[in-house]
Symmetry: C2
Subunit: 141 residues, 2 copies
DNA sequence: TTCCTTGCAAACGATTTGCATTGGA
DNA sequence: TCCAATGCAAATCGTTTGCAAGGAA
């Protein structure tokens, strides 16, 4: 996976520096989106936050990571769909943790059908959808 | 609708002051969630932002409004479901505007089925769900 | 009077930026 | 060599809070 990312960056003449590699490694190891502060901790406080934000900005512009906003004023980042596959999120209303869920292809198809149906009733051109399931995670239940 | 809100507040011994009424009026007139800054403009810059935030906090605690986070970590508020009904959102990837969509009951049922199916495969107790449809709105298309 | 609410300004946390320095092709 | 990437500190943005003044019960 780091290989595909390296190629993507080099195609766009963007360097895959050490700092950027650490961000990617941290995201690959995560089972859900992570905020800059969380990544900062995971990486071990080596990389200053400002550099982390800069790495995330570059990776976002290159289409490698994508921001996600589910809980109060915090951007969390995750690998783009072409890297980690299409998925949805379980958002804990108590602790704010966000976890990925894979949805079986069959179910995903039904969901796409719904999205199409909903969008045709409005003047809106849909490209994507996100299903956020809110509830309580196993730790908070 | 303002009547139901007034009752809810008085039941909880919370005053329905002029500032709070203006926030509600602005939200009732909107077709999607609105940020504090947007409400500030709609209301006409009369109410200072800090008071607006305080009104929103009280209305949120009383269950009259709910926050929504779709773009750039900006909080946008809308009337709670018991007031405006269950609905979903169309999020424009260009301008960031968020608009409500009503989903026919039949379709909504299918969506609930999907949510239940997805959640049973994980240790997660779902109470609610939000379907965000990302695309381009009629103005940006 | 006694709380609750407001306005203003200052404080806050998350994120961004300017600038001088470092590092890679 | 030369431009991009970094670290640090200061700035910015959205949001929150302390405090003194205003208003309702």
């Amino acid at each position: 996976m780091e290989k595909e990312i390296a190629n993507r960056l080099s195609d766009r003449e963007v360097r895959f520096t050490k700092g950027r590699q650490e961000v990617i490694a941290a995201l690959v190891a995560s089972d859900g989106p992570r905020s800059a502060a969380e990544l900062h901790t995971i990486i071990g406080n080596k990389v200053p936050l400002s550099s982390l934000y800069r790495s995330l900005a570059v990776l976002e512009e290159t289409g490698v990571v994508v921001p996600h906003f589910a809980t109060k004023g915090l951007a969390r980042y995750e690998l783009a769909e072409w890297l980690k596959g299409h998925h949805h999120h379980l958002v804990c209303v108590d602790c704010g943790a966000v976890e990925d869920v894979e949805v079986p292809t069959m179910v995903e198809r039904r969901l796409e059908t719904i999205v199409t149906e909903v969008a045709t009733t409005s003047e809106f051109l849909p490209f994507d959808h996100a299903l956020e399931i809110e509830g309580r995670c196993s730790r908070c239940a």
